[in-house]
């Protein structure tokens, strides 16, 4: 009935550092093997998703450090994970089938508490911040779903023409969305936009 939580954990920091964590079943292990192996281990398996989440984490600032995990042995097809926000990141534990149920329940509770703690801190931070202009400074550019589609393909290095084909829209529509994206990012060119999105 319970998920399994012992196994390999990948935790992505804001600077793109990928930490590979051996989990002892309690979610957070004492041994942190810091491995800068993003290219080989994540990108090689699913480049688009990896880039997408890193872009998102950078765009979102400290509190929104999303991560993407794959079981290093089994690959992304075998997602069995348990995720929560941890130290400003979304910590995802890739499960292994044989962990003990009681242990994984403890892990779930611990993760839940970490996540709740983070969100409550954000709530208090918002209270403490002066209301005026707060929204503009802190929140990431709120992209609409359509703009988001363009952002993803833009980061993939696609031309306007290819983006239009992929999304099955006119090239002029892509250009219009790009103009809004530039405006929201406060930039003037494609290169600047990519730079802003990737931090």
């Amino acid at each position: 009935m319970m998920p399994t939580t012992a196994g390999t954990v990948l935790h992505c920091d804001l600077d793109g550092t990928l930490r590979e964590i051996r989990s002892d079943g309690l979610g957070i292990s004492s041994v942190l093997e810091i491995a800068r192996r993003l290219d080989h281990q994540v990108v090689a398996k699913d480049a688009v998703m990896a880039r997408d989440f890193i872009a998102a984490s950078k765009r979102d600032g400290a509190a929104f450090n999303w991560m993407f995990a794959i079981d290093l042995a089994e690959g992304p097809a075998l997602f069995r994970f348990d995720g929560s926000v941890f130290d400003g990141g979304l910590l995802v534990i890739v499960g292994r089938p044989k962990a003990e149920a009681a242990t994984s329940q403890k892990a779930i509770d611990a993760m839940s508490a970490l996540n709740n703690g983070l969100v409550n801190r954000l709530r208090e931070m918002a209270r403490a911040a002066p209301p005026a202009g707060m929204g503009d400074q802190r929140s990431p550019p709120p992209f609409t779903a359509r703009e988001h589609e363009v952002v993803v393909l833009l980061l993939d290095g696609l031309s306007n023409h290819l983006i239009a084909r992929r999304l099955e829209v006119e090239e002029s529509a892509v250009k219009a969305r790009l103009r809004t994206i530039y405006r929201k990012l406060g930039v003037a060119s494609r290169a600047q936009a990519v730079k802003a999105l990737l931090g």
Binding site: D109, N115, R123, P142
Partner: protein, 346 residues
């Protein structure tokens, strides 16, 4: 009211007794279940005990029946023999009588009555947690994005909805609430793992936190709300949404979060001069803790004239429960809760 809190002394003993009785009355069980199943069986039995004792302490047949229907469906969804539930619970009733004396007899009586009632209900009778139509509109899209791990897209759906002119107070709960309830149903039906459920709800909370700068930018009128989940209660998203609704409604709000120790809540409510306190319980098991927290809030400093709201899933199942836990009112969601509290402080 006799409060029996989760983790009550003898809980494990009673569960073990019930399991032994089950195995000795039903020798075939030992053959049907794999070796080592007894441990799992004891854990499940303890869960039944905690829920049943809580329902008995609250004298709530509706909550008991809702739990029985929920657990029966869960067992079926897990592919386990549903027919074993009834005899297992009969054994639990005997065990609780044997260990707890007269209080145990009350519990056993309610349990047996619940089982009889459940038999009388049509077989398709479902727990409130399992009911509800298919998701539509932005809720469905939001959930699809969550389950595809596309969190930026899930966030974009919420931002889109708010940019379309709708106000945050109405929009967020309307999109997120149904999606989360569907997450619960999918988990219950075994269509997603606890892990996926967990990732979806963690992501949802963090995405919603992005609205805090806007939520706290609204003008505050003054009345103070202090909100907390009962001790042992880990579900906090629902109460957080209720609290945020008050903040948007011009209140100054303090959200103390999951599993708040009663004394901390009482002290905080006194210090912050709360006009209203809100207490949440999402499972039957934590309602007794909510009741003792409410009792403490009544007698602690500032308790005079301070109103108490209680809410969460069990309060929707048993409509009269709020009275029995000693609250001044309940509400199904943040909108209704705000309307009620605004009325109180007017």
């Amino acid at each position: 009211m006799n409060m029996v809190l989760p983790g009550t002394p003898n809980g494990a003993e009673i569960a073990a007794l019930g399991v032994e009785a089950f195995y000795s009355h039903h020798p075939s069980a030992a053959l049907r279940y794999p070796a080592g199943a007894r441990d799992a069986c004891r854990r499940d039995m303890l869960m039944h005990l905690i829920y049943v004792e809580a329902a008995a302490a609250l004298d709530s047949l509706p909550l008991l029946i809702d739990y029985l229907a929920w657990v029966r469906a869960l067992i079926g969804n897990l592919g386990l023999p549903v027919a074993d539930l009834r005899p297992a619970l009969d054994c639990l009733a005997q065990a609780v009588e044997a260990v707890r004396g007269s209080q145990g007899q009350d519990t056993a009586r309610l349990l047996r009555r619940g089982l009889r009632e459940l038999d009388r209900l049509p077989p398709e009778f479902a727990s409130l947690a399992c009911s509800g139509g298919p998701l539509t509109g932005p809720s469905a899209k939001f959930l699809a994005a969550l389950l595809a791990f596309d969190y930026p897209k899930a966030a974009a759906i919420l931002f889109d909805a708010v940019e379309g002119g709708a106000d945050i107070a109405a929009t967020l709960p309307d999109i997120v609430g149904p999606a989360m309830r569907e997450v619960g149903r999918l988990w219950h039906r075994g269509q997603i793992t606890v892990a996926e459920e967990h990732a979806a709800s963690a992501a949802t909370q963090v995405i919603m936190a992005r609205f805090y700068p806007r939520i706290f930018a609204t003008e505050r009128r003054g009345p103070v709300l202090v909100a907390a989940c009962a001790e042992g209660e880990l579900h906090e998203m629902g109460l957080r949404m209720v609290t945020d609704q008050f903040q948007l409604g011009g209140w100054e709000t303090h959200f103390l979060g999951a599993s708040t120790p009663p004394k901390a809540m009482a002290a905080f409510a006194a210090r912050s001069g709360a006009a209203v306190v809100a207490v949440s319980a999402m499972t039957v098991a934590s309602v007794p803790a909510a009741a003792s927290l409410i009792a403490l809030l009544r007698t602690s400093p500032g308790g005079n004239g301070r109103k108490i709201l209680a809410g969460g899933y069990p309060f929707s199942v048993d409509q009269d429960l709020w009275r029995r836990v000693g609250a001044d009112g309940t509400a199904a969601d943040g909108r209704q809760a705000l309307a009620l509290a605004d009325d109180w402080v007017r």
